[in-house]
């Protein structure tokens, strides 16, 4: 299964840079993009569709409390999240003008806390960070992903794409082999999705809790027996940017539910 796909991929990858001027090679046409929820079971879909039984809404709700908490709260600058944060998540990961770094939405929240709010840093995957990220991303629900890959974001995009196509781990496969070449097929009991980042933070029944895209990427790395990069590694940001570009136009679903 892997071999013919790999040959096809090498050919495609070689062809890719040739048309880089006008745009990037897309392995999944924009019209064929499918959110991960399309590959989920009926139970999972029902869980996500019902805003009450969607357990990830607990994090959104907690995020709303944190948004207003403290003397220098998020709300003291940004007002109502429903208005000020609308559409924000569609643009992340994005370059921070001040530092020139590529920041994910979670990074931006952490930066705001340390530089402007003087609040203690939050751990990666902490409930607080997930809650705030979920709250902010939830305000973009239904809006299409639209990240910028131009200017200073370009090298990050290239690095992310390179990661996506690089064979890694003991299983020696790249992201593309599952998520470009074999989506919709089954891998043991699972249906392989296209690997789009449009519902994070997600509630994953396997985790029994909410988690970030980094945690999900780590799960993929572990699955192919590759080294799991530490939380906050720049490789995740680059890959996130490539994934977001790849999912361009897909509506944000946050907070999503997956199995």
């Amino acid at each position: 299964m892997i071999r013919p796909a790999a040959v096809w991929f090498v050919a495609a990858a070689l062809a890719g840079p040739g048309i880089a001027a006008g745009g990037q090679e897309r392995h999944i046409a924009l019209g064929d993009l499918k959110s991960g929820i399309a590959f989920s079971s009926r139970d999972i879909r029902a869980m996500q569709e019902d805003d009450f039984s969607n357990p990830a809404m607990l994090w959104v709700e907690k995020g709303a409390k944190l948004w207003a908490a403290g003397a220098r709260s998020c709300a003291s600058c940004h007002g109502e999240a429903e208005k000020s944060m609308r559409g924000v998540a569609t643009r992340y990961p994005a370059i921070d003008r001040g530092s020139g770094r590529l920041l994910s939405l979670g990074d931006r929240i952490m930066q705001c806390r340390s530089e402007r709010q003087g609040a203690p840093a939050l751990r990666h995957e902490s409930d607080e960070l997930l809650s705030l990220t979920a709250l902010v991303a939830h305000q973009s629900r239904g809006m299409p992903i639209g990240v910028s890959i131009e200017g200073p974001a370009r090298p990050h995009f290239e690095a992310g794409r390179e990661f996506f196509f690089r064979r890694i781990g003991q299983v020696d496969i790249a992201c593309t082999h599952c998520h470009d070449a074999n989506w919709g097929k089954t891998l043991f009991a699972e249906t392989i999705s296209q690997g789009h980042p449009n519902a994070f933070p997600i509630y994953r029944t396997e985790w029994q809790t909410a988690g970030s895209i980094e945690r999900r990427l780590r799960a993929c790395l572990s699955g192919i027996r590759a080294e799991m990069l530490p939380y906050g590694a720049p490789e995740y940001r680059d890959l996130e940017l490539y994934l977001a570009w790849r999912a361009q136009g897909l509506p944000i679903e946050t907070p999503g539910v997956r199995r």
Binding site: F52, P55, L58, E61, K62, K65, T205, Q208, T209
Partner: protein, 107 residues
């Protein structure tokens, strides 16, 4: 710890059966898992949950590790009078929590 409560329909008629839905954020630690160094993570589940409707208990549940994290409880009662629903629960560590919701019954 977040909790969400929903009464369906939100404004029932007197005598109508209402569904009450409660979603509680709790990790329902089973007691069967081990940590990174092999030590057992002690069990910590919500073990009892009850709902009182204007002071009278209308629902009680004993929960155990077979129930998922962040449990969703759904049960029914008859809307008799406007008033208050009080939900309370306790976990294995003895942490008690409660939440209230208004119920408005129309004639």
């Amino acid at each position: 710890m977040a909790v969400r409560i929903q009464v369906v329909p939100p404004r029932p008629k007197r005598g109508e059966i209402v569904e009450i839905r409660v979603l509680i954020q709790h990790n329902m630690e089973t007691g069967y898992r081990t940590d990174m160094v092999g030590g057992v993570i002690p069990r910590n589940c919500i073990n009892v949950f009850s709902c009182r409707y204007n002071g009278a208990e209308v629902f009680r549940a004993d929960l155990s590790p077979g129930i998922s994290a962040n449990p969703l409880l759904q049960f029914h009662t008859v809307a008799e009078a406007s008033g208050e629903l009080e939900f309370s629960w306790m976990d294995d560590r003895g942490k008690q929590d409660s939440e209230r919701a208004r119920i408005a019954v129309s004639e």
